[in-house]
Structure formats: C-alpha cells, structure tokens
C-alpha cells in the first residue's frame, strides 16, 4: 500500500496542474450548452429543414409565404414575450387570451359607437389594460395566492365581460367599421399600417420578389405586427439581460424571499410584469383590430396557453428565475412555421396540435436537464 501510493499520486498531481486549462474549455462549451435559448434555436433549425424538404416547392419560402408565417409567429411572439418575462419573474398569466378580446373591444366600441377618435380609443384601451394588469398583479402579491388561480379567475371574468359588455353597448359580438374611423389617424397607423413599401416595390421591380398579374409586388410592406414583435424582442431582451430591472426580474423569479431580503422590490417587479403582459396583449389586439377593421368577442381564445408554450419552448422554467426573450421568440417562430407549414405541405391541420403537445413535452424535459446542469455542483 505505502509503496504504491506515491507513484499513484504523482500522475494525479501532474494532471491537476493542467486541470484548470481543460476545465476552462469544458466550461465555455458548457456555458453555451446551458443557454436557455439553445433548445428553441435548434428546434427552429430542425423545423425549417423539415419544411424545406417536404414543402420547399410549395411557395412557403417565397416572399408572400415567408410573410405569412412570420405574421403568425409575430402575433404569438408579442404575447409570448410578455408571458416569458412574467414567467421569469415567477408568475403566470392565464388571462392573456381574454385580455386580447377585451382590449379589442375597448378599442372598437369607443371608436365606432361613441365616436371617439381612434387614437383616444387606443389610449383608453391601453390604460384599461394596464389597470387590469395592475389589479391582477396586486391581488397576486397582496394575497400570496398562486397567480395560476388569480389569472384563471380573470380569464373567465374578462371573457365574460367582453361578451356581456359588447352586447350591452352594441347588441352584437363582432364590432366592425373600424377601418373608416382609422383613416388618417396618427396612432392607428402604428398598429394597422405597413412599413417599407418602397423597398418591396423596388425588390419586385428588379425581380427579386414575385408580382401579381397587375404588377403589384406579392408583399406590399411589413405589417406593424412584425415591427412590434421585433421591437419588443430587442427592447425586452436588452432590459432583461442588461439592466438593473432585468436583474430584479431574475432575482424575483429565482427566489422572491432572497431577493426581498437584499432590497429588491419584488412586489413592484411582479405587478409591473403583470401590467406588461396586459400591455403585450393590447398591442396584439390593436394590431388585429386595425388590420381586420373589427373586434370580435371571442378573439384570443386559448392564446394564453400558446404564449406560455412559446415561452417554455424558449427555455423558460415553470418555476421561474430562468428563461430568455430570444428563446421565446424562437418558440413563437417554431409555432408559426409549423402551423403554416402544415398547410403548405398539405398535411391535415389536426397534426398541428399533436405536434404542439409533443414539442411542449420535449421542451420541458430538455429544460429540466439544462436546469440540473446549471445548478448542480460539478
């Protein structure tokens, strides 16, 4: 025993000397592997490859096809970002979908039935939504009830109110005629308009994108819903990763008690995040109302689940404190590509739900594994 010990110790010591160098490389790779958005980015690549093979010649990747699935992704992405930020902050909001319907009515009814200018109706809707988000958050932090239950209550309250109030004020559940009112309104253009029309005209001119028989380009501009998605993605990602408030969000969701003990105003953080999800829902509602020219009481049905799924696919942990806005955006992109891709490829659209559920399950398993990597001593 005593003879073999020194000889065994010598190589061990030599190994431990360049140990650090090797550890460094491993940890860099490991850090990359434990980024929350890794799963959704690789998922998005796989999905693109898949549809490039099965639907490559269907027009899915022509200019109008791209616009088609990008728009669907953007619609989900906007509320996915809100849901993701809130989840990182440790809470859920199941009332996002109902909020979309309610906010839509808060825009359409004043604009069409009460003769308000559209900009005023929009501001009214945003203030109303923020107030509801505040109430939601206030109840959660003051009562300590799970946000799951509180926002579930709001899911029903808001949906019920949307239908009841629109019937009370207008006698119908679909309120149209917003287009006429929005004509020339400065704020309406920020949600219903398009940008970059000249660019697409030029691209069509030089033959880079296709045209209709009458010579108009297939794509006339980028809808504002996509612009909002990109804008929110950049701003929120920056806020989350690079600001004090972002650090507070991670801390609040990671361990609210610990955060509070070192002086993070966790209640304020949570309430503001509930307000932000309501804001996101209203942005989407405004884009839809001003694009379609109408509000419908059933709009946004089940969207809260899709938003949460996008956030989870994007790497957000259900327990809070971990996640990524970029990840949630890729989660939404996967959604849009698959939902539209299934049409382009000519599959039965029922498969979309099957795919959705499977994707969610895989994402949660993957996230669990990542969390273990991040938090367990090695």
């Amino acid at each position: 025993m005593s003879v073999t010990t020194p000889s065994a110790a010598a190589p061990a010591k030599a190994a431990s000397e360049n140990h650090d160098e090797r550890l460094r490389q491993v940890s860099r790779l490991k850090r990359l592997l434990s980024r929350p958005e890794l799963g959704s980015i690789s998922g998005a690549i796989l999905v693109f490859l898949f549809f490039a093979i099965v639907a490559g010649d269907s027009g899915m990747f022509a200019a109008d096809g791209v616009l088609n699935w990008t728009t669907v992704s953007a619609q989900l992405g906007i509320i996915g970002i809100g849901a993701c930020m809130l989840m990182i902050g440790g809470e859920f909001d199941l009332s996002i979908g109902s909020m979309i319907g309610f906010a839509g009515m808060m825009i359409a009814i004043p604009a069409v039935y009460w003769d308000w200018p559209v900009w005023l109706a929009l501001m009214f809707a945003f203030s109303g939504a923020l107030a509801i988000g505040f109430t939601n958050g206030f109840i959660v932090v003051k009562t300590g009830l799970p946000s799951f239950i509180v926002s579930l209550a709001f899911l029903f309250i808001l949906r019920g109110l949307t239908i009841a109030l629109s019937i009370l004020f207008t006698n119908r559940t679909i309120v149209g005629g917003v287009h006429d009112r929005a004509e020339g309104d400065w704020l309406a253009a920020a949600f219903g308009g398009e940008i970059g029309g000249w660019l697409f005209a030029w691209l069509a001119n030089i033959g880079l994108i296709g045209t209709y028989p009458n010579g108009d380009p297939l794509v006339s501009g980028i809808p504002m819903v996509i612009v909002w998605w990109m804008l929110l993605a950049i701003v929120c990602s920056w806020v989350l990763m690079r600001t004090k408030y972002g650090n507070w969000i991670f801390a609040t969701g990671g361990d609210a008690k610990a955060a509070k003990n070192v002086g993070v105003p966790t209640d304020r953080v949570k309430i503001s995040l509930f307000m932000f999800t309501a804001f996101c829902a209203t942005v989407l509602a405004a884009c839809q109302v001003l694009e379609f020219g109408s509000a419908a009481a059933d709009r946004g049905l089940l969207k809260e689940f899709e938003a949460i799924i996008a956030a989870v696919i994007g790497g957000a942990l259900l327990t809070g404190g971990y996640g990524s806005v970029v990840g949630a955006c890729f989660g939404a992109l996967i959604f849009g590509v698959v939902q539209m891709g299934i049409n382009f490829a000519g599959f039965n659209s029922d498969w979309f739900r099957v795919f959705l559920g499977a994707m969610l399950l895989v994402a949660v398993l993957f996230n669990n594994y990542i969390r273990k990597r991040v938090t367990e001593a090695h």
Binding site: S27, R242, T243, K244, G246, A251, A258, V262, T375
Partner: protein
Amino acid sequence: MAEFILELQNVSRYFGSVIALKDINMQVKMGEVHCLLGDNGAGKSTLIKTLSGVHQPSEGVYLYEARPVRLNSPRDALDHGIATVYQDLALVPLMSVTRNFFMGREITKGWGPFKRFDLDNANRIAQQGLADIGIHVRDPEQAIGTMSGGERQCLAIARAIHFGAKVLILDEPTAALGVKQCANVLKVVAKARARGLAVILITHNVHHAYPIADRFTLLNRGRSLGTYLKSDVTREEVLGMMAGGAELEELEAELSEFSRADQNKVANA
C-alpha cells in the same frame, strides 16, 4: 459618535399570541464580534430580523447611533449600513456569481433610458471582492448553484462588506459547514472585525463562537439572560448558561457513570 452603533431597549416582538421576544436589551459596538447564543426557537432569528428591518418591534425602542429609528424594510436597514446574511443566504442559485453579488444594488452606467447594468465592471468587482477574503472563482458568470456551501457563505459576506456594511449580521454562518470551511468563514468574520465593522453572529455552537466573540448575549425562550464580555466569562460558564447546558452537564455525568459501571464490570469479571 455614539459609543454603541445599535442598541435595543426593552424590545418585544409578538406574532399573534406567540411571544417571540420579550424585553430584550442589547448593545452593539463597532469593531466587535457580538455573539447571540440560544437554543432552537430561542428567538435568535427573530431578533436579528428585528435588527435588520424585516420585523418591527412590537414594543420597545431601537436606537441607531443613539437615535431612535424605525426600520420598515431590509432596504431601510441597508441604507443605514446594517447588512444581514440570512440562514438561507439570500442567494439565487440560478443566477451568476456577479448577478447575485449585485442583486438589489446593481451598478449602472449610461443615462436616462440607456442606463444599464455595468456587467463588465460588476464581474471584476465581484471577483476582486471575493479574492479579498480568500475565495477565488474561476468564472464570475457561473451560476451560484455550482458553488459549495462555504463559498456561498463567503460570497454573501463579501457582498455585505463590499456594500459598505457597518454592521454585519450573520445567522448561523457555520451551521452546515465542514471543519475547514467553518474555519474559513470565521477567518472572514475576523477580517470584517479588523476592518472596524460590528459583527453580530448567531450560533448554537459555543466552540465556534468563543474563540472569535468579544461579547455574548444569551437568549432563552424569547428572553435575554444578559450580555457578557468574553473577559468576564469562561467557555464553560457560557455553555452552562445556555439552555440545554444543564442537560449537557447531566448527560456528561450520566456518560461518566456508564463508563464507571463498565469499568466495574471489567474489574468484577
């Protein structure tokens, strides 16, 4: 400047019908380690939560630099330079060393809407702050979850020291640690004292407390048994005064009784 930085006069704290603290008097001096001793449920955690603004006294006066204060939140206490390292350390395992170090007190650069968390500087400061007390981290962006208990304890202390704590309150810093890590943490406490901080240290373990403490306050079932200077009491006296001290003596007596009986048996056989 007042002789005592913190002073409690007849402070009580009730939770509904539970009397967690009753008529506590206590004085804390700069440059001293003040040790709170007591059994489970004696009220040690409640006392330091009162000192650090988590709870407010139900009765009695809290003096800071000889002036009565009311600390409404841990933030208030921090602004007075009273920093607490809780039993749960107030660290978030999923967050990086740096993000934890600066949690709630992020340094920023830029102005207006472009004001941002200065991560490069923060990384450097966190690494340096830890190195100053003898902890070397390879990567300040690694998650805390990967660090050992002792390292986390030291990180929490380094954080408090860095943010200009005048009073450092430590709740059972050595509870879950091995011998070596324990010694490291106590060394860090000594460094803090050498910098002139007042340290309030909670422990069950007299053997950890005695070598480093300058003053002891003993708690028993929510009441204070008094404050003693180390020069006035021996380790055994402190042990004897602690709740359970009597039981320990009894246990020792019983054990020696057993061993005598055993010896008798051996002798008889």
